[in-house]
Symmetry: C2
Subunit: 211 residues, 2 copies
């Protein structure tokens, strides 16, 4: 038995988080006021303050919640991927999709504002650390890579930094054509580099290769 | 014979461009007003308006001029690099230094503001295109890579996107330790990938390798 009241409250909460992310991605940090989010979500300012006492609470909660949801979606999408040659590329595509998506664009606005605001920075640094560690852990899990191998650890980090850079290159213009070629070339190299260390696969030199 | 008046004017111009970049990197887009830049550069607002009619003129001129200077410095620094095994890594280090430097941090503030401002975006997109093409051309030149080879072209792009991502990861915290390990690991892979295509070098399989 669910309480209709409780359910409405949960739906409002959810709508507020989504509206905050949309608003950050479209209007930037300065344009994401409580009033603008209230209007977009169709709730009163008072209702927002009931859920989130301050603007910073609203924004950091929205980023954290929506990031967790995106990582969950990346994991779910990867479950259906066939094993074999194209798997590494498919995983890199999904990871890069996160960096070119709305949550990353929203986070970019907040990170950039925090660069010029010491109080906000102190609040955002732990969030950035969490995001960085989580996306790394998801990448290692999906790639079934051995993170204790230093070269593997660094190449996975490099892949995610490339993803961040591709995200940045997509902020002002649609960079999807250029990006898909880069991801393909990178994934081919990553697949080669990871292959010898992956358990249960044939030795590196017996696998089909693209040079 | 140089005119002292003309020389003073040139020095003021230069000081304004430097102050604008420092201000963007430290205080962000919103905090970089003509008044703040004037104070930092030690000139009057009137003197700024003599050089740059609008705030946008000042900011885009500063980005363009300081970017050109940084690329010139990267080229000069690379001239002294010895040929041989460590060269690719040294070049990647210098390129990544650009992405973690003040000009990139300033540009990031402007790109992010432009994402939420259609008028500014229209003005910034050509600048972003120019920056992207120039840094790619500098990388190809320094690496003596064959940009007509599609894989080489994409791996150099991926290297620069990784640089962008590393720049972003350095905005809120000092990421230099993590970064130097990633750069080392990626440069080793890039050197391998570029080696067979580079003219005047030994065939790939006779070169010393790090695996």
């Amino acid at each position: 038995m669910r309480e209709p009241q409780q359910e409405r409250s949960r739906a409002t909460h959810q709508r507020l988080l989504e509206a905050t992310i949309e608003c950050l991605a479209e209007r930037g940090w300065a344009g994401t006021t409580v009033g603008v989010v209230a209007q977009r979500a169709g709730v009163s300012r008072g209702a927002i303050q009931h859920h989130f006492p301050t603007r910073e609470d609203l924004i950091t909660s929205a980023l954290e919640h929506m990031f967790d949801r995106r990582m969950h979606e990346v994991r779910i999408a990867a479950e259906g991927l066939p094993r074999g040659e194209g798997r590494v590329e498919s995983i890199v595509v999904r990871l890069v999709d996160y960096f070119t998506g709305e949550v990353f664009k929203a986070a970019l606005q907040v990170w950039t504002a925090a660069a010029a605001d010491p109080v906000l920075r102190e609040r955002i640094v732990p969030l950035e650390l969490k995001f960085g560690r989580t996306v790394h852990a998801v990448a290692i899990e999906l790639l079934e890579a051995d993170d204790t191998d230093p070269t593997t650890h660094r190449l996975v980090q490099a892949t995610l930094d490339m993803g961040r850079g591709l995200g940045l290159a997509d902020v002002l213009t649609d960079d999807s054509r250029r990006r898909s070629e880069i991801v393909k070339a990178w994934a081919a190299h990553l697949a080669q580099a990871l292959a010898p260390a992956r358990p249960g696969t044939a030795p590196a030199d017996t696998l089909p290769r693209r040079e």
